[in-house]
Amino acid sequence: MGSNTLYKGADVYYSIYFDAIAPTQANSMIRFTFGSGVTLSSQPYCSSSIGLYVAEHGLRCVNEVSNTVLKIYNLAALSAGSRYTFTVRLKSDLTTGSTIRPTVTIRTYYSYNVDYSVIDQKVNHLLAATENNYQTIPNDFSI
């Protein structure tokens, strides 16, 4: 869901989805780790229609490590084979290069209470399309 044109520091909304392989417990957790030129926006954001563990608490997402790891929790149990879709907000951090193709590593965790309980993962999944990095390709304008 990127715009195909990125300006350094500008927030852009991206869609991520995946099909779970293994089920999780209720109160499970997901981590998205972003790389190759994008970081979380200064105000981390995520949205999803995924089922919640405690509805009153809402979908929780926090910037966990250096603006690159988004931890999403307060989730109901994930079902094997089900598709889960999220929207996140990222910004370009590239200072060189004319194009940018960010990556995301997706990990699902059996339980929020066991921080290392990863059961499914997809490492360095590429953005669907390469985007232009307007940090180094300034727009032409006419006088």
Partner: protein, 154 residues
């Protein structure tokens, strides 16, 4: 005449004597664990290669309790004609012993279910002599791989 009138207490005291023993510990891991399938939560056979200091009567493999499920208590034939006894939580041990002796280097075949979480998990292996004393010990790591998500979009 002295006779027992009333007995208030009866308390046995047992004294133990102990022996101390120097246990050789591998400076590097003397055990390698190679599952035939390292995917989480699948039944598989681990090939545990253990190089001890001398022939042993029994080996124990103490698996982690974080990821590895509690073993079902059972008694089976494992490596060749060796026997293996499985003990579940709280110890999560597999004890392997032979009719005569286990050689210095042995590749044990351990049937078990892999851990339920991905990652690297530490265990402890020990070798015992026929007099039940530990003669050698070493840590080992077991690596379990999470499932790979097939369908994803970004």
């Amino acid at each position: 005449m002295l006779t027992k009138y009333i007995e208030l207490y009866y308390y046995e005291v047992t004294l133990f004597t102990t022996v101390s023993q120097q246990i050789a510990t591998a400076s590097t891991n003397a055990v390698t664990i190679t599952p035939s399938n390292s995917l989480i939560n699948v039944a598989t056979t681990h090939t545990n290669t253990f190089t001890t200091s001398s022939n042993a009567y029994a080996l124990t493999y103490q698996y982690d309790r974080e990821s590895t499920p509690s073993f079902d208590n059972k008694f089976v034939t494992c490596t060749g004609s060796n026997k293996c006894v499985y003990f579940g939580y709280p110890v999560n041990w597999i004890i392997e012993y032979a009719a005569t002796s286990i050689p210095v280097s042995v590749s044990s075949s351990i049937s078990m279910t892999n851990g339920i979480y991905g990652g690297t998990y530490a265990g402890l292996a020990r070798a015992y002599s026929s007099s039940s004393l530990i003669i050698f010990k070493s840590t080992f790591n077991t690596v379990y791989n999470p499932n790979t998500i097939v369908t994803a979009y970004f």
